[in-house]
């Protein structure tokens, strides 16, 4: 008899939850969103013995309170009847604190087990945990695990099976006893009575009453629907409840944890620098430069391969397909779509691999949390976590870097926000294309001024974008000050991170390739023409819409280049070259099949008025960065809706910027 068993992982940040999830499920993961919520849904499957297991990686937070959408999703999930087992994780090296999740869970009647992680760290700290004793006291399965080492998972698998078979739930009479013996005992009893109307088998009235004592908004709302709006709030109830929980934890741990206090320094030498009031900033800047450079180095083989693919494959195609009589047009079509998108995707996943690897190490080592601390003040002003600084700086290298780097942001909403904001950071390719144009149009000094203008616009763009997207994703009234653990430094597990990054890369490759191929094919037909540029749909559309685009300051040529720049920044020069220097068709210059004319910047400078040029430069810089950025944004957000929103917002703002710049510049130029 075998059926799919559903288990859920629940744990505080830094408890090793994602590591366990990755090790359990490997490639069998599905990441999406909870319907109607801006909360990431991570599920996966694995088989052990004859059984198949479905695992949900529930969003991590410090407790089960209703302070965020994430926590509410988590709570609702574990109260569902089809969950066979909830694995609550706790960090063995700081059990007192990390058992709080279990203490908060206590009372729920969904079968549960406790998984102690970081046993190796605990040992180093001189702590010994008696697993058997804990199991007896709690009345549930308890097992210990070194999360990153798959070889020691056997005990974990066995515990899961035992826990599911026995279906044990936590003994929590002692926990309630602490409340019943406190000053708020009467209120608790009253709440238990009230709670009956919304209680269920798995979420009994006592658990709800505890939440009510905490002043839980979600519970109050559920009760209000049932007509109970008259509940008197318990003064500082949350303090009594947490007090009871910590007493309960102390009771459970008493005698089960041996703690030979080590006299290690609380702040290591490195940490004194890394979080120092002044030095912290410079360490972070140094780390970011180092991270950007190592990401570039790690990515370079794949990016090189991606870039070289067309020149490797195209001659092969010519001889192989040409030899058997396939028409040139078809070969050309394959080159422009299949080979181009393959090359793009290969370089893209190379970069994504590198970002996952480098950021994975920084995160795993524990440094990322320090960045959050160092930049908390500046970033919290625009509603982002301090950590968001890291991916944003990566954006100067490549927007894919910032989008895939945004995965270090643990709140899904803030992650989308970080990505949206980071798009405004001009990328490496922009810094190649734009100065070339700016210098040709405005000379050396003028070119510098244009670059300066770009930085000023970037600054305001970031602030505005954070405001626009923050309204929904991190509303000002829900923002809270920093309360965050800075975990101790760990040695990085290179092999583990490497393997994870590889899996991630393969996953992205599968999704991205088809999207990019389709876009290339669409663009191919839009720009297809057998009679110069004038025969293409793009041209017809461009000239048709010119009366409108002229309002933005862009005539059909620049508007078309603006359009092509959404595929790749390098296409800007290519398309202008196709139009003004007749150096090949638009599709060929966009996809790199035809070379850009050497002096294209000069040719263009002679043909385009300066005000239009400035509007064009700004519009291109702050447009959708490139197709890769869009695809990697889709990959990170798993949401076509949010990707489209960000994309639409950037096209719109780019055109607004162009309009403003054009009309202001036209007064002077």
């Amino acid at each position: 008899m075998s059926r799919t068993r559903t288990i859920a992982l629940l744990g505080q940040p830094n408890s090793g939850k994602s590591t366990i999830f990755n090790n359990l499920t490997g490639m069998h993961q599905h990441v999406g969103n909870w319907p109607g919520k801006t909360v990431e849904k991570k599920e996966g499957t694995f088989t052990h013995g004859e059984n198949t297991y479905k695992v949900a990686d529930l969003p991590g937070s410090y407790s089960l309170s209703a302070n965020s959408e994430e926590e509410i999703v988590t709570r609702d999930y574990i109260a569902k009847n089809d969950v066979d087992l909830v694995c609550v994780l706790a960090d063995a090296s700081q059990l007192e604190r990390s058992m709080y999740m279990l203490a908060d869970y206590a009372g729920m009647k969904t079968p549960v087990m406790l998984v102690l992680t970081m046993m190796d760290v605990a040992k180093e700290k001189g702590k010994k945990v008696d697993v058997t004793k804990l199991s007896e006291r709690l009345g549930i399965e308890v097992c210990s695990i070194v999360a990153y080492d798959r070889k020691n998972y056997d005990e974990f698998y066995n515990s899961i099976d035992r826990a599911i078979q026995t279906g044990k739930t936590l003994q929590c009479e002692e926990l309630y006893a602490f409340i019943k013996n406190s000053e708020i005992a009467e209120i608790f009893e009253e709440y238990v009575g009230i709670a009956k109307v919304i209680a269920s088998d798995r979420r009994p009235e006592e658990w709800i009453a505890m939440k009510l004592l905490e002043g839980d908004d979600a519970i109050r709302m559920q009760l209000a629907i049932k007509g109970r709006k008259d509940i008197t709030p318990a003064e500082a109830g949350a303090l009594y409840v947490s007090d009871a929980r910590f007493k309960w934890i102390a009771n459970v741990l008493d005698g089960a944890v041996e703690d030979k206090k080590t006299t290690a320094e609380l702040l290591t030498k490195f940490d004194k620098k890394a979080i120092g009031p002044r030095s912290g900033f410079w360490v972070a800047i140094g780390m970011m430069i180092a991270a950007l450079m190592s990401a570039m180095i790690v990515a370079s083989p794949m990016m090189g391969l991606g870039g070289a693919l067309p020149s490797l494959l195209n001659p092969l195609l010519d001889s192989a397909l040409g030899g058997v009589g396939v028409a040139d047009d078809i070969i050309h079509f394959i080159k422009a779509t299949l080979v181009t998108s393959l090359g793009w995707v290969v370089s893209m996943v190379g970069f994504i691999f590198a970002m996952n690897f480098v950021f994975g190490i920084l995160e795993e080592v524990g440094y990322m949390a320090r960045v959050s601390y160092v930049f908390d003040r500046s970033m919290s002003r625009i509603g982002l976590q301090g950590k968001a600084m890291m991916p944003m700086i990566m954006g100067f290298g490549c927007t894919m870097g910032s989008t895939s780097g945004a995965r270090v942001i643990d709140s899904y909403g803030q992650r989308i926000m970080t990505i949206a904001v980071a798009w405004a950071v001009p990328c490496g390719a922009t810094f190649v294309v734009i100065p070339t144009l700016a210098n040709a149009f405005f000379g050396g000094t003028g070119g510098m001024l244009v670059m300066l203008l770009i930085f000023v616009v970037m600054f305001f763009h970031i602030v505005l974008t954070a405001k626009v997207f923050g309204r929904k994703l991190n509303p000002a009234e829900e923002r809270t000050g920093m309360i965050m653990e800075l975990p101790p430094y760990h040695k990085p597990r290179w092999g583990f991170i490497f393997k994870n990054s590889l899996m991630r890369m393969w996953d992205v490759f599968k999704k991205a390739f088809s999207i990019e191929l389709i876009v290339c094919i669409v663009f191919y037909f839009l720009s297809y023409s057998n009679s110069g540029i004038e025969g293409s749909v793009l041209y017809k559309f461009g000239t048709f819409i010119e009366p409108v685009s002229e309002f933005f300051g862009l005539r059909w040529q620049t508007f078309m280049a603006f359009f092509a720049a959404m595929l790749s920044k390098e296409a800007v020069l290519g398309v202008l070259s196709a139009i003004f220097a007749n150096s090949g068709s638009v599709i060929d210059t966009t996809t790199g099949l035809a070379a850009t004319s050497d002096n294209i910047a000069q040719v263009v400078a002679a043909a385009i008025p300066k005000a239009e040029a400035l509007a064009f430069i700004i519009a291109v810089t702050f447009n959708i960065p490139c197709l890769q950025a869009v695809v990697s944004t889709y990959n990170e957000t798993h949401s076509a809706k949010w990707t489209a929103k960000i994309g639409g917002y950037y096209i719109l703002t780019a055109l607004v910027l162009a309009t403003v710049v054009y009309h202001v510049a036209a007064l002077f130029m």
Binding site: Q94, D216, L239, S242, D243, F246, D376, G481, L486
Partner: protein
């Protein structure tokens, strides 16, 4: 005195926490409740506070931390 006034290197015990339920549940769920011993690791102007409590280092928003009342150990 409040936590933000605790000097670097000093130890204290939390005696009172004020604030709305939301803040109370957030601060206690990370391990800081009444009776918890803390040590100030870094208290630099305009930066979040860095304290050591319940076996780990915790960063706290400075403004919010003024709601936490502490007593220095004798």
């Amino acid at each position: 005195m409040n936590l933000a006034e605790l000097e670097q290197g000093r130890r204290a015990i939390i005696v009172q926490i004020d604030g709305d339920q939301r803040y109370l549940s957030r601060i206690t769920s990370i391990g800081l409740n009444v009776g918890c011993k803390v040590e100030m690791l870094q208290n630099a102007k305009k930066k979040p506070l860095l304290i050591y409590g319940r076996d780990t280092m915790i960063a706290l928003n400075r403004e919010e931390s003024k709601r936490i009342k502490v007593e220095v150990n004798a």
